[in-house]
Amino acid sequence: MLTITNLQASVEGKEILKGINLTVNKGEIHAIMGPNGSGKSTLASILAGREDYEITGGEVSFNGGDLLEMAPEERAREGVFLAFQYPVEIPGVSNTNFLKAAVNETRKHRGLEPMEPKAFLKMMREKMALVEMEQAMVSRSVNEGFSGGEKKRNEIFQMAMLEPSLAILDETDSGLDIDALKIVANGVNKLRSKDNAVVLITHYQRLLDYIVPDYVHVLYKGRIVKSGGKELALELEAKGYDWIKEGAAEEVAA
């Protein structure tokens, strides 16, 4: 589904990603972990199409297409979803209208008619239940006045509505208390299928207690320095990131 080959990117002349290689297949959950500043969020942003970065090398193929050539909205319509680390507040734009536009754009892209208002509302209610969102929240402006946890839940709600084939969750767990974390994780687990894939970007192992990954990758200084199964996350939790850093330093020295 997603193949990242030797991806390199910089911002304002500073190299952030120094050759990322990653393959994500249908039905898989990948966790990307790493210390702060290692390039995790940069990777997520580049996949979603944020224009603040300069791609200096490599390629990204998504379902056979060149992802880097697509505008952000094309990627979304093709099935890429980014749950933002910092979801923006958009006063005056109602969640419902925004989602209706988003859902219908995606449908149009797939050659489907816009949803009937009744069917749309029914779908909203179902997905709201999934992430335990209240009607009052959905009726409000996008993220306006939401707490940190509510914003993250709203991201997962949007994901549920848009039914992406590839969901990238950028530190969706940070700032969440354990109850909110469980709600978010539960939402993600229920949306899992053999046809879609999830990339979890996280700093902490805790999320992975609730969403069990198939693969764990450690990103450090713009490179994936270690990959493994879910047990790698536990090892990181136990030992911290220092041993990774030391290992990486040794590799460079060697």
């Binding site: 505008a71 979304a76 980014l82 979801p87 958009i90 005056g92 734009v93 988003a102 848009l162």
Partner: protein, 446 residues
């Protein structure tokens, strides 16, 4: 030199105006007109050297050869004014053509405790409230345009609500300048007096009828002064819609005197015109009076829109809340000058002011200036202004959910404008404005 000509013709034309007044040249009103004429002659039209007119030059407006009120009679048909009405609005409608009340185009409903009539008639009948308040709320001492308007004060609307009366219908005041035969200068003078605990809604708009494109271009110049007196606990919702042609100039002043716990809600929407200048001021004279000023200017072409506001907190416990927003395209110019005065006795004042602008073109300009003068020590005041493009982060967020760039921009601009439009409680008016603005944004972003 032509500029001087209009000023001179206004001064000289005053004699002809007096002749036309004939039997109505009686004190005290006419004495005030004369004083105002003298003051106008002393002050003359302001230039950009005048601090209050720094960014708004009237040179283009005063160079035309205008017919004065006594010279420009016109009769319009219902079909000709239909575009300026809102059919879904069940209102007391008063239509004025070149300043003169047109009863055949108006619709007045009788309600007990409500007086609504042309000001000229109220002058004629020597109405005590008119004599009491005329030229007392809007001072012409320092303002040449108010002086000019006061000198020529005759036509406009007088509304009185007696104590405790709630107006059953909104008042819709429509001022049409017919410039098909010549350029026209129209002074409009209104006086609204709301008694204790009374409540009303007023919508006013000015429009210019122009000749077909092939003819010599004519211009409409409206000078408008509205004086408002709100008794204790009176509520007035005042909406102004400005969507006029390019060949129009509008200089208006709305001055409000507020007694205790009265509420004045103002929403001024400017969508087009040549030069639009709105002066809006309240004196919060009684305790716990509230003034809410909202404004939206969504302009393009070469429109210049200038909002000057002044809230004078004279006594304690009053609140003023002000939000003006602008969406500027093409070569349009915006001016926002918001002054808040908190006098020594005005403790526990709450005064908020904000001006936010989005520039859609590199050639659009906005000049914004907050002025706070605070002489009391126990107050909460804030002001802020922002000018910029649409928020990139919000645009990206919407695009990352599948909306294309134009949709995302339109959605954000509509939301930006919506914050002001939602302050309008007259649904037919709000619907119409939303439609006009959506259409406008659609064109501009296409």
């Amino acid at each position: 030199m032509e500029a001087l000509d209009f000023q001179t013709s206004l001064i000289k034309g005053f004699t002809a105006f007096e002749t036309m007044l004939n039997g109505q040249k009686v004190p005290p009103i006419h004495d005030i007109r004369r004083q105002a004429m003298t003051r106008f002659a002393e002050l003359g039209f302001p230039t950009v050297r005048h601090e209050e007119w720094k960014y708004t030059s009237l040179v283009a407006a005063i160079k035309h050869d205008y017919k004065l009120p006594s010279q420009a009679a016109s009769t319009l048909t219902a079909a000709e004014i239909a575009p300026f009405l809102i059919p879904e609005l069940d209102a007391q409608t008063l239509v004025f053509v070149n300043g003169v009340f047109a009863p055949e185009l108006s619709m007045i409903h009788i309600q007990k405790g409500v007086t609504v009539r042309s000001l000229a008639e109220a002058f004629h009948d020597k109405h005590p409230l008119v004599e009491k308040h005329f030229a007392k709320v809007a001072s012409f001492e320092k303002d040449a345009l108010v002086a000019l308007n006061t000198a020529y004060a005759l036509n406009g609307v007088f509304i009185e609500l007696e104590r405790g009366v709630v107006a059953e219908r909104p008042f819709h005041l429509v001022f049409v300048n017919d410039t098909r035969m010549s350029s026209v200068f129209t002074p409009v003078r209104n006086l609204f007096v709301l008694g204790e605990n009374a409540e009303a809604t007023v919508l006013d708009n000015s429009h210019t009828l122009t000749a077909s494109k092939n003819d010599q271009p004519h211009y409409g110049f409206t000078s408008s002064v509205t004086e408002i007196v709100l008794g204790e606990n009176a509520h007035l919702h005042h909406y102004k819609l400005q969507n006029d042609v390019e060949a129009s100039y509008y200089v208006g002043a709305t001055s409000v005197h507020q007694e205790s716990t009265s509420v004045y809600n103002s929403v001024v929407i400017t969508l087009s015109g040549g030069i639009v200048r709105n002066n809006l001021s309240s004196v919060l004279a009684g305790k716990a009076a509230d003034a809410h000023y909202y404004g939206l200017y969504c302009v393009n072409g070469k429109t210049l829109v200038d909002n000057h506001t002044l809230v004078d907190h004279a006594v304690a416990h009053c609140t003023s809340n002000e939000l003006y927003k602008g969406i500027m395209d093409d070569r349009s110019t915006g001016v926002f000058n918001g002054k808040i005065m908190v006098r020594e006795d005005a403790q526990k004042t709450l005064a908020y002011q904000s001006n936010r602008n989005i520039l859609l073109s590199n050639n659009a300009t906005i000049n914004t200036k907050p002025q706070l003068e605070i002489f009391a020590d126990d107050v909460k005041c804030s002001h802020g202004c922002t000018t910029g493009q649409l928020d990139e982060e919000s645009l990206f967020y919407l695009r990352a959910r599948g909306l294309d760039k134009e949709q995302a921009r339109a959605l954000l601009l509509t939301a930006f404008a919506g914050e002001i439009l939602e302050k309008i409680s007259l649904e037919p008016l709000r619907d119409r404005l939303e439609a006009i603005i959506a259409e406008r944004l659609h064109q501009e972003l296409a």
